[in-house]
Point group: C2
């Protein structure tokens, strides 16, 4: 499949905007130019009418199938939410549920300009199938814990789902310190050494979790993970709200990605991650939505807005954390954090994971600064098109995601009966 | 004009959702029922296909025409933003600019489910015309200050724009304590006594402003306003971020509306208003977007989400400030704060200010709790239709606001050249 976008504005890697054309051949961007020499030679020619082409957002931390719990258990204290609602409902989940509720999340992703998600959940076959069949990119993250996924299973998944499909990948990971024995964590570290692969986990999401780790192990989670050898090949940590200065130093010297989930952290009253401080220490940052049970939207627009404005609030400085940060975190940051290659910007040879924004939506006007409009006043209503790997999955309210959207909606509605 | 909405879900005043029909005659809701007896007798019959009818959101604090400064001066320290960007640019504004940039804001309002705005800006004739011609409801708020609008002008405006058009109203107000002499404030208080009318103003938005007032007057703004007799007939205060316990008591006993602008306060690093504490003290709360120069979106969805999640964060309690609060604040709170009658809920005899949400947008699924979906995962992409005073102003991406949207967009694009 070949596609030519013309009459476009194009967001460059340096966050400048140029008028021009962008052409796609297969899953790859063939050229970004003023006017394509091969114009007319493409199967699909799309008049962007001044619409802005941007790289797709990467949702660098998600539990996609948790759409089934959206608005099911809100406004509760964190532990009641987790222990009395989330865990008992999750215990009822089958692979079929996860397959369809992941597809529901993918509808939200692509209609919101997200082209890839870093997904931590159960039943990897269901998640991988949902991604492959819809044409969406999913990197799965291992979730070793004392009650379910064992290190042995992690190895199986790692072997199986890397090489499974070009849209699917799998990273080593464990759920969190507080859900794992030291033995488990040592086993994951061992695997990391064997594969020379990075390790990902939830970390310092709540104060209670961080205090608990100090009580159990005499040190903070970052200090523990470093000591256990989990980070010898880098990795990433989801949330990173309750990290102290030493922790920041440990993360920086181990090249650990901080994947922040500002909206989830706010709604669960967990706190605000010190992104400004982490960035200043040289830590790379990415953004994620977390699951719909806690957030509840799977919107990278809202994460970007919240990420930067909460830093302004936290540092008491309106000039702190400018809008460009959020876009870098959501584009190239997310791509690198989840190990996607060639997905960081729009340029020849990069992957064709592309979103078109309608710059004539009222919230995107006037065009004083288009880039800031995306971060400060953008939302899914500005998303005109989403293309993943050269294939259009969403255009003007319509989905091209294998199953019809109506089918996914109906199926998930039926399946919700299992959770009454 | 008569309109019948059928196959609808309808949000009741008590936040329950019912299946049924809603019929509109002129600017008024004729009936809300299971199935209308007069079915077939309406000029327009709209199959809602399960869409949800809700009251329109009321944006209870806005500077609508500031759309011209969107993304023009972000990521700056507050005082640099105000003194080096906002004020010099505003000095160039003519009535024509304000007329068109207010219309641009109205496009954003109606496409985001907002049916009325409480607008504080210059050139009331331009603002009133923009509202009347587009069919949008605007209550203007006086902005007496030492450099422009005098108390005498306030009286003229108050007399002229109450009774000007059924869509337009005018409230007594002054810009803020720090921009007014005591003489001005006394004059406004005198007018309030004469008209037995409430008074509105910016208050305690920043710590510097609040500290400055104490330095200048030996007391906080609420204490000063009470002493000056400004609140003898009630009123409202915009922002209310830096209020202490005594201030909260003063506001409560004077029946002062706290109009909160959480997104603007966050982005300008002003802080988070203690809404939970104010509500517990019996203060009524409404929400507003503030202007696009500071926010930058004019989205009540984002204000609602931010209002409640920031309270959870502020109080360190995920159970604090449940979603229902935000809807009450955005519907009936806003209506009462700006003095709109019959705009608080959907019921026979109430004004036909109605929004239809598409409940099949991915972020609105599944339907575990539709009301929480609105607050926690809603955005403008879920808005299918907006009706003001019985007239549809927005439907499925199209605007019916007098001038074509294209005309407003083009005109504002041209006018931006005056600010280069």
């Amino acid at each position: 499949m070949t596609t030519r976008f013309y009459n476009a504005k194009i967001l460059n890697g340096d966050m400048t905007v140029a008028d021009g054309e962008l052409c796609v051949r297969g899953g790859v961007i063939e050229c970004v130019c003023g006017a394509c020499e091969n114009g007319g030679d493409y199967e699909k020619e799309i008049d962007c009418k001044g619409g802005l082409l941007i790289p797709g957002f990467k949702n660098a931390h998600a539990h996609s199938a948790m759409t089934f719990l959206r608005s099911r258990a809100d406004d509760l204290p964190l532990h009641e939410w987790l222990n009395e609602q989330v865990f008992p409902q999750e215990a009822k989940l089958t692979a079929e549920h996860i397959y369809w509720f992941t597809k529901l999340a993918i509808l939200e992703y692509v209609s919101g300009g997200i082209t890839a998600a870093f997904d931590m959940y159960f039943e990897p076959e269901a998640v991988a199938s949902a991604a492959r069949e819809t044409g969406f990119k999913i990197t799965m993250c291992g979730a070793v814990n004392d009650f379910g996924t064992t290190p042995a299973k992690l190895r199986d998944y790692y072997e199986k789902y890397n090489g499974y499909d070009e849209l699917v990948a799998y990273k080593l990971g464990f759920h969190a310190e507080y859900t794992n024995s030291v033995g488990n964590m040592r086993a994951v570290a061992e695997m990391s050494r064997g594969y020379k692969a990075p390790v990902y986990t939830h970390m310092c999401e709540t104060k209670a979790e961080t205090d608990g780790c100090i009580e159990r192990h005499g040190k903070t989670p970052p200090a523990l993970f470093e000591e256990l050898g989990l980070w010898e090949h880098g990795g990433g940590a989801f949330h990173c709200v309750h990290v102290n200065d030493d922790d920041v130093g440990i993360m920086a010297r181990n090249r650990i990605w901080a994947v922040s989930n500002p909206c989830s952290n706010l709604k669960l009253a967990s706190g605000v991650a010190p992104l400004t401080k982490m960035a200043a220490a040289g830590i790379n940052i990415a953004l994620g939505t977390d699951g719909a049970a806690s957030n509840n939207a799977l919107s990278m627009f809202r994460e970007m807005y919240s990420a930067v404005t909460l830093q302004k609030y936290l540092t008491n400085d309106a000039a702190a954390c400018p809008a460009y940060n959020a876009l870098n975190w959501a584009f190239s940051g997310g791509a690198s954090a989840m190990g996607l290659e060639g997905c960081d910007c729009l340029a020849a040879g990069k992957k064709a994971d592309i979103v078109m924004l309608d710059l004539n939506r009222p919230a995107m006007l006037p065009h004083n600064n288009i880039v800031k409009n995306i971060v400060y006043s953008g939302d899914a209503s500005a998303v005109k098109m989403t293309m993943v790997n050269g294939k259009i999955l969403y255009y003007d309210g319509e989905f091209f995601t294998g199953d019809k959207a109506e089918t996914i909606i109906e199926k998930t509605r039926d399946l919700m009966k299992d959770f009454d």
